[in-house]
């Protein structure tokens, strides 16, 4: 990354693996469980959080010296909520179809604790450019996990990827279904997302022992 200094680049690359918001900081778990039953929803959520977190981080960072510390959490909440609602309204007026797809995620974004977590932990203490990079990095780290979980849940639960059947037709018994394979409906349930996230955490920590707490 020639554009960024080494320190700045770390802000983006760190949350992707060694300081991942989901697997290491264990933030944003609830939306990771709720919407990863299909890959498309995971991707949309990832993009939406990327936008809100990077812009929100910049806004909070610009305001960091004037926010009274007693009500900082409320101020952060208002900033996210206002941002999300304005975007939602604009989409409703000019890209109605898209807004229908996204409307489900609006509530989930506002309450996503990664967003509050990054405002609180990073944007309040750092400048706008660094906060922007931190927002991008954390949102990407979040999106990566969502996409991995969504991939396995949709593939094993519905036999599809992005809604396209990849394993054959379960009703007509073609493809792998012809040899007796069945979709695991259990993968569509939220608890399985927790187990998949758990497996990712396990794999990650067994590869990098430094991440293991005692």
């Amino acid at each position: 990354m020639g554009l960024l200094s080494k320190k700045d680049a770390k802000l983006i690359t760190d949350p992707l693996a060694d300081n991942n918001p989901i697997t290491i900081q264990v933030l944003g778990i609830c939306s990771a469980l709720a919407i990863t039953a299909e890959l498309k929803a995971s991707l949309v959520m990832g993009i939406a959080v990327l936008f809100v977190l990077s812009v929100g981080n910049v806004v909070i960072s610009l305001m960091r010296n004037i926010i009274p510390s007693k009500i900082r959490i409320i101020v952060q909440l208002i900033v996210v909520a206002a941002l999300v609602i304005v975007v939602d309204q604009v989409l409703k007026a000019f890209a109605y179809e898209l807004s229908k797809t996204l409307s489900v995620f609006v509530g989930l974004i506002i309450t996503n604790c990664i967003i509050m977590g990054r405002f609180e932990a990073f944007a309040l203490a750092n400048g706008p450019w660094k906060s922007f990079l931190d927002g991008i990095g954390n949102a990407l780290g979040y999106a990566v996990i969502l996409i991995i979980v969504g991939f396995f849940r949709e593939l094993l639960g519905s036999g599809t990827l992005f809604g396209i059947p990849v394993l054959g037709d379960p009703i007509e018994k073609t493809g792998v279904y012809a040899i007796g394979y069945e979709n695991n409906g259990f993968m569509l349930m939220p608890p399985m997302a927790l187990i998949v996230v758990g497996l990712i955490i396990w794999v990650q920590r067994s590869k990098n022992k430094a991440l293991i707490e005692d």
Partner: protein, 248 residues
């Protein structure tokens, strides 16, 4: 910064200013975008009604595809021959019937008032469709839809939508494979008693070939949304039974 941000007076002033700024920003966006949003909603209703009677741009077995927004108004007046409002058993024509807010009418009915029931009559390829709006509750939020019936109350097409069901689970009521299952299902028994259609787990008919069992196959992991669909079909379509009896 020289300002002491810990002082109570500063906190209060900041809070007031923040509320004013954010409040007026939201109010401004909402009111300046209102006409656009209303227009989009109006076109969406027309698209949904037409979708239920089979006027859409579906291809193969993929996603749902509505008539384009550029020609929806023209197609709507072409296919929908009559818009009726049924009040106290009397049907009157009203070409704004599609704008009736079902949520408000349901509340009126609950509070002892008379509920206005919109019904759209469509003609396509020599067939007559009676399209009724329905509305109910899913797991998280409202669900609604349009059901196209023939004069014997046999389903000719459906459209379902939702405000906030879980993507990949309850949200799949908006998928074609779910909506298409309703085609050909009967709402009435042989004797003409209203029975409705249930979204049933384990109805042992995943291809939905049995059309007179008053059941369609449920969606995995979406029990409550499915129950909501059954409930809104039973509750709202039953109200139209007296009108359909007059058609015979």
């Amino acid at each position: 910064m020289a300002v002491n941000t810990d002082k109570n007076s500063y906190t209060i002033i900041f809070a007031v200013a923040m509320v004013l700024v954010v409040g007026s920003l939201l109010a401004f966006t909402a009111s300046s975008l209102r006409p656009n949003i209303d227009e989009n909603k109006r076109m969406e209703k027309q698209q949904n009604i037409l979708y239920a009677m089979g006027v859409n741009e579906n291809e193969g077995t993929g996603d749902i595809a509505f008539i384009g927004t550029d020609k929806v108004a023209e197609q709507f007046s072409k296919y929908i021959t009559k818009q009726l409002v049924i009040e106290n058993g009397v049907a009157k024509e009203d070409d704004k019937a599609y704008l009736i807010d079902i949520k408000k009418e349901q509340a009126k009915g609950k509070n002892g008032g008379t509920r206005r029931l919109p019904l759209f009559v469509g003609e396509k390829d020599g067939k007559t469709f009676y399209i009724a709006p329905i509305r109910g509750k899913g797991l998280w939020d409202a669900i609604w839809g349009y059901v196209a019936l023939n004069k014997d109350m046999v389903v000719q097409g459906t459209f379902f939508d939702h405000a906030g069901e879980t993507p990949g689970l309850g949200a799949n009521i908006k998928q074609r494979y779910f909506m298409d299952d309703f085609y050909g299902e009967h709402l009435l028994t042989e004797a003409g008693v209203f029975k409705g259609i249930s979204v049933a787990k384990g109805n042992n008919d995943p291809k939905n070939e049995i059309k007179d069992d008053y059941e369609v196959d449920a969606l995995a992991g979406a029990t409550i949304t499915g129950d909501g669909v059954s409930a809104m079909i039973k509750k709202d379509l039953k109200l139209y039974l007296p009108y359909f009896k007059t058609l015979k």
